[in-house]
């Protein structure tokens, strides 16, 4: 039942707003955005690894002295919906010992961080002797010193196998670098000459934030500044409250599954209950499976983010995503469950499979409350490998490693648009980038043989999901290690309101001499020999609405774009296309659609609601091929 609409407010500044100048308010609000944007540019333009500089796996944000989020720009949702959690732990640990010039870092999942691969840098910002802000970055490290060459080791069984654990620790104290500590950190890392550059880029970003925020505080003074920051929170708070009041009160349930746990266990269940009451939303993951023996568990931080992201996506996107917004959402999960693992369980993959599976459960629950505001499922990257090896192309051998996003999965359709390709994950929501083919071949000893649209790979509907990618890669300098860490091969992107599920998809290696294919589950470690190629076929996103009601001209458009085949247009959409002229045959289409409708149309709110619903691998397997689950 819908509640009465929001009451209009007179002033932009909300509760504390009577004394705020609306013009100054807008100026300061926008200024924070441009500062966060400049921090983001600094990181992207100057980092030394492709995972940061090209794929953009990082986030920058600004907080007030109480660790409340003021602003983030163009960042990854899984980071910025939970960075306050780790910042509060940082502030707690160093309470009374926070000084101008400090830089505090952390990658420790049990200190409120997302997972071991995410490295946080934070610097407190002082003006006139008073702590005013924090500028903060979180960047996915190429390495964290794990037992295999990847910062996302799927088979890690505890925190000690994940690599170096850094609870909140000062790398700079009062402006002075603690060289010994930085050396200790780098000594634990592979490719430390690259990681040093990323570390510097993360410093450059928070220092750029500091420069600009100090200028801002100088312009307005501390008291005014604090007043307007409260006003900015209140503004978002008020808009968020009105927005949630438009959602019908009630409890809504959703369920989804993780493919594997990294140790061979399959179809791990995640349950979410979304409770909407007045202007608040609470998410409870009670009933989810116990934590797993592998790395596929969620940290507390990721659980908080995964619960909130679908809600944040279901509101007016122009509401500033700050603390005023976040304070309307709360989340809990039983300790020791796959959604909130207990020390010392590994959470190395938390931001990937666990995040997206929890989000799927929340999205599916939300579809029962506000179906017009949700989207079909996003893919969960079963085929984004972490490649590594030795590059012998030049005189001097060089160790290399690279997380390779180009074959990633697509996004789901909304109630008014088709899905985007390469959304990659619900955690990133399209904020990650692919690498240029030419840059990849120059930087790494690999050749990309193919990178094209995977036709018919998406879920269908009135709007269909974005397409997956067909990709093939050959090593060009000896064997190449390939560590997979994703999910969603067995459990595909879901469809909404009669829309169908995506294909699933995954990857295999093929011997060029024997033609034998070795398929790998969405996690695991395989070696691509010099006479082998790695092939990925990724899933498109989930569909929205009933395919038979898609405008036939739009179906034709998708065929001409290579997203759908002529056969699929006919079979699924009931649209008959004359292959010679490539036009819709309206008469035959009408007749076929009538027949298909008579045969019955799915009107499920979401599908699938059973585990392991994707049969991509089974259909592809030929005699002699092999399928490995979580190889180590």
């Amino acid at each position: 039942m819908a509640k009465p609409g929001p009451k209009p407010r007179k002033s932009a500044a909300g509760k504390s707003g009577n004394s705020l100048d609306p013009i100054t308010f807008s100026v300061i609000l926008n200024r924070f955005n441009t500062i966060a944007d400049e921090m983001t540019l600094t990181m992207e333009k100057t980092a030394w690894t492709s995972i940061i500089a090209l794929a953009r796996d990082f986030s920058c944000a600004i907080y007030d002295a109480k660790a409340r989020q003021i602003c983030m720009m163009d960042a990854l949702p899984v980071h910025t919906n939970s960075m306050h959690v780790v910042l509060r732990e940082i502030a707690r640990v160093f309470e009374g010992n926070i000084h101008d010039g400090d830089v505090i870092v952390c990658n420790h999942a049990y200190s409120g961080n997302t997972h071991v691969g995410d490295f946080v840098t934070a610097c407190p910002i002082f003006h006139d002797g008073k702590h005013m802000f924090w500028s903060m970055t979180k960047g996915h490290q190429l390495d964290c010193g794990a037992f295999i060459p990847t910062s996302t080791p799927a088979a890690a069984q505890n925190v000690w196998q994940e690599g170096l654990q850094l609870p909140p620790i000062k790398f700079y104290e009062k402006g002075k670098r603690r060289e010994d500590v930085v050396r200790m950190y780098l000594a634990n890392m592979r490719w430390q000459e690259w990681l040093y550059g990323d570390f510097m880029a993360q410093l450059g970003s928070i220092w750029t934030g500091r420069r600009r925020l100090v200028e801002l505080a100088e312009t307005y003074g501390n008291d005014e500044m604090e007043k307007y920051v409260e006003g900015i929170f209140d503004y978002a708070d008020m808009r968020m409250a009105s927005e949630i009041r438009t959602m019908p009160d009630g409890d809504y349930d959703g369920v989804s599954w993780l493919d594997t746990d990294g140790q061979g266990g399959t179809n791990i269940e995640v349950r979410a209950r979304v409770s909407i009451r007045d202007d608040k939303v609470h998410i409870n993951f009670a009933g989810s499976a116990p934590q797993t023996p592998g790395a596929n568990n969620s940290s507390f931080g990721v659980m908080q983010a995964a619960a909130g992201i679908p809600i944040m996506c279901a509101i007016d996107p122009s509401i500033p995503h700050n603390d005023g917004c976040l304070r309307h959402i709360s989340a809990e999960a039983p300790e020791g469950s796959v959604c909130n693992a207990q020390y010392p369980a590994s959470t190395a993959l938390a931001t990937i499979g666990p995040d997206d599976t929890m989000q799927d459960a929340v999205w599916k629950a939300l579809a029962k409350a506000v179906p017009e505001r949700v989207i079909g499922g996003n893919g969960r990257i079963p085929n984004v490998p972490f490649f590594s090896g030795t590059d012998s192309r030049e005189a001097e051998d060089r160790e290399w490693g690279c997380m390779f996003f180009n074959g990633a999965t697509a996004g789901g359709a909304s109630s008014s648009t088709d899905g985007w390709p390469l959304i990659m994950t619900s955690a990133g929501m399209g904020g990650l980038k692919i690498l240029s083919v030419e840059m990849s071949e120059m930087l790494y000893p690999m050749r990309i043989d193919r990178q094209e649209i995977n036709t018919d790979s998406m879920g269908h509907g009135k709007y269909h999901g974005g397409p997956g990618v067909n990709i093939q890669i050959s090593p060009t300098s000896g064997a190449m290690e390939c560590n997979l860490f994703g999910d969603g091969q067995l459990n595909p992107p879901f469809g909404v309101m009669g829309g169908t599920q995506g294909m699933g998809g995954g990857s295999y290696k093929e011997s060029l001499t024997t033609g034998k294919r070795t398929y790998c589950s969405s996690k695991g470690r395989i070696i691509i020999a010099e006479d082998e190629v790695w092939v990925g076929e990724s899933s498109g996103g989930g569909g929205y609405g009933i395919a038979l009601s898609r405008d036939p001209e739009l179906v034709l458009g998708s065929v001409l774009e290579g997203l759908l085949s002529v056969a699929c247009a006919k079979r699924v959409y009931g649209v008959v296309i004359d292959a010679a002229t490539m036009t819709v045959d309206p008469k035959k289409t009408k007749a076929l659609r009538k027949k298909l409708r008579a045969a019955g149309v799915s009107r499920h709110v979401t599908v699938p609601n059973v585990p392991g619903a994707a049969d991509w691998a089974q259909r592809r397997l030929r005699p002699g091929d092999e399928f490995l689950i979580d190889p180590q």
Binding site: K10, S11, I23, F25, D74, Y235, R373, M429, V437
Partner: protein
């Protein structure tokens, strides 16, 4: 009497600026003729000849320079009404254009529609071939695959072809071969190669730039080729020059090879116009602003060089080549004020445009615009808008502001109007900050140069908020860009890829690259009649730390050979820029250098500017009267002096608060500000 002529084809009007060698200027406007843009040009030439008492042929014969700019190319890509275009690409990579860089702009907007690509997949066809990163051929070009693809193009009636193969930047031979085959099978259809347009690494940017080139080429080639023929037949003795998006001009032949440079050629002339007025006052650090009806364009000019960007995009498709960094936001006279869902006052980016226009036009517009605000606050004289040619109703302005803004926010009409005025100013200040402060440049060291009819109303406020000392308002600010075209140098940007490093810089190879690039540029410019003494070469390189991924462009020593002793300075140039932009540098790291660039300028002879003598007349002779004008500081209307801009002469000083009215622009001088008229007749505002 010799002349130079600038012609700018806009969406509505084709503007002409004609200057003779005594510095006398004639301006003219013709309605643009989209079906054949050449008609308006020929009509305008006839009209200008008549004003000068010449035959058309006499005028054309007397031209030393004919510079042409247009928004046709920009409108073609924005409106997507270009020709049917096909793309040939490396097999296995048919969807480079579709995948882009995998980025979705607005994370939390799950219903954001995706911009369409310029070429649909059925016309993006693969050819069988492969070259590797070293330039070695892994798979020879299969000519049959090219012919098969061209058959499909033929069937679909493809009118323009782009070719973008992987690694053509290090080995263009396959692209060149493809071009020959296509030309033979599709005679008359233009073929554009990625290795000609943008020989730089990163296939998406290069493909996009090539596709945009092929898409705009037919629309600009036919009429310009005809125009050049027409001019030649009527005694024009030089090359037709075309304004490019890099702020310089080029010959038509150059442009047809690299059509991407024809995009946005109009606004790219803004910085040249600004610099022209500033440099004669010995000022070479300026920020040019141009405030029109819907948009506000800003550009930084440092040490006489306009800022360039590599990141310009059209419908999410990168342009790829360096372009004058004109930052545009939706802030103009027509920008509409509104209250968002949370109750915050906003201005723009929606614009009332020319129709229905501001509320005061009474053409059906009932939303308050910036022009309405300027009328209500007394800045614009309702009886002298466009020199009195357009009747406007101040009452209608006040009604719109009251209804939409003042009443809902509980403000008076004046408070609301002043609020809108301040917000649109804030938006413009932010736009100026984007190109200055956020690049680590302090705008306080710069002069503002102000163009556009509405620009000089706001300039004093913008400058004050940014702490700038002085604004220059050219007498011809109302027609800023066409004015800029006739003072822009001929410009060639050339680039070549070669990897080297400060630890072991291959000086012989680098000097050879520069000598080849410079030889090519100098030969081209000499063929256009520039003596070596009027050719200026500037060298640049894209630099990064050895393990870094993205580059920064740094200037290199531009005279003579690069020597071993220069290497330290080159590295330091990079460290310094890196630190200014990103708050840190890594001095202990070596520096990699990759793309080697030159900019070659054919410097135009200085146009003789008309110089006025100082008058002894008092400024009161230019005063038209007084009227109440709103003062933001005082929060009320104040009796304010109004001046006739045409009567203001060199030597006079206007003390604010004051308003100056001219046919095509209004200047507001705030309290404590003074405005002088310099020897060239331009207005110079001391901002204070």
């Amino acid at each position: 009497m010799r002349h130079i002529l600038g012609v700018d084809i806009g969406g509505t009007f084709t503007d002409f600026a004609l200057i003779d060698d005594a510095g006398e200027i004639n301006l003219w406007k013709e309605a643009t003729t989209p079906a054949d843009p050449g008609i308006a040009i020929r009509d305008g030439l006839a009209a200008l000849a008549e004003t000068r008492g010449l035959e058309i042929r006499q005028l054309i014969e007397s031209l030393d320079l004919f510079v042409h700019g247009q928004t046709i190319a920009t409108n073609t890509v924005i409106q997507r009404n270009g020709p049917k275009t096909g793309l040939l690409c490396t097999e296995g990579f048919r969807d480079v254009l579709y995948f882009r860089d995998g980025f979705k702009p607005d994370r939390y907007n799950v219903s954001l529609p995706r911009e369409k690509d310029f070429i649909r997949r059925d016309l993006r066809l693969p050819v069988t071939e492969r070259i590797d990163y070293r330039g070695d051929v892994l798979q020879k070009l299969d000519e049959k695959s090219v012919r098969e693809a061209v058959k499909v193009f033929k069937k679909h009636g493809v009118e323009s072809v782009a070719v973008a193969l992987l690694w053509s930047i290090v080995n263009p031979s396959h692209e060149q071969k493809v071009k020959k085959i296509v030309a033979k099978q599709l005679p008359g259809v233009p073929v554009v190669l990625s290795s000609d347009v943008l020989p730089m690494i990163r296939e998406w940017e290069r493909t996009s730039s090539t596709v945009l080139s092929a898409y705009i080429l037919p629309g600009i080639s036919e009429y310009t080729i005809n125009l050049e023929k027409y001019l030649a037949a009527n005694g024009f003795g030089h090359n037709l020059l075309v304004m490019q998006l890099n702020g310089g001009t080029a010959t038509l032949a150059q442009l047809l090879k690299r059509p991407i440079y024809a995009l946005a050629s109009g606004p790219a002339a803004g910085p040249s116009a600004g610099l022209y007025c500033a440099e004669r006052m010995k000022v070479n650090n300026v920020i040019t602003i141009d405030m029109g009806g819907t948009s506000f364009d800003v550009c930084m000019v440092t040490d006489g060089h306009p800022a360039l960007t590599q990141d310009m995009r059209i419908h999410d498709n990168p342009v790829g080549v360096s372009a004058i960094e004109v930052h545009s936001i939706g802030a103009g006279g027509g920008s509409i004020a509104w209250i968002d869902k949370g109750g915050a006052l906003q201005v723009g980016p929606q614009s009332a445009g020319a129709e229905p226009g501001p509320a005061c036009y009474e053409l059906g517009g009932d939303q308050p615009t910036v022009t309405d605000v300027n009328v209500v606050l007394g800045y614009i004289n309702p009886d002298y808008f466009l020199g009195g040619r357009r009747a406007i109703n101040a009452e209608a302005s006040a009604r719109a502001i009251d209804k939409v803004i003042a009443k809902p926010l509980g403000l008076t009409t004046e408070q609301a109007a002043d609020g809108i005025f301040r917000i649109v100013n804030t938006n413009m200040v932010n736009a100026i900050r984007v190109v200055s402060v956020e690049k680590g440049i302090d705008p306080r060291g710069y002069n503002l140069v102000v163009g556009g009819g509405a620009g000089p109303i706001h300039a004093g406020s913008l400058g004050r908020e940014l702490g700038m000392a002085q604004a220059i308002i050219p007498r011809f600010g109302g027609v800023f860009c066409s004015y800029g075209m006739i003072v822009s140098d001929v410009r060639l940007d050339l680039v070549r890829a070669f990897a080297s490093n400060t630890a072991a810089l291959d000086l012989a190879r680098i000097n050879k690259i520069f000598s080849e690039l410079e030889g090519e540029a100098i030969a081209e410019l000499k063929s256009q009649g520039f003596p070596r003494s009027r050719i200026e070469i500037r060298r640049f390189a894209d630099a990064k730390y050895s393990n870094q991924i993205h580059e920064l462009t740094i200037p290199l020593p531009s005279r003579g050979k690069i020597k071993k002793s220069d290497i330290g300075d080159i590295a330091e140039e990079f460290h310094g820029l890196h630190e200014r932009m990103f708050s840190y540098c890594v001095r202990e790291s070596e520096v990699d250098l990759f793309h080697w660039r030159i900019t070659a300028l054919g410097k135009l002879p200085d146009t003789e500017a008309r110089v006025f003598k100082r008058t002894r007349k008092p400024v009161s002779e230019a005063q038209k009267g007084t009227r109440p004008v709103y003062s933001s500081e005082a929060g009320k209307f104040k009796k304010t002096k109004i001046y006739d801009g045409d009567l203001l002469q060199h030597g006079m000083t206007v003390v604010g608060p004051a308003v100056i009215e001219q046919e095509n622009m209004t200047v507001v001088v705030l309290g404590k500000q003074t405005l002088k008229i310099n020897r060239y007749g331009d207005f110079v505002l001391a901002i204070n």
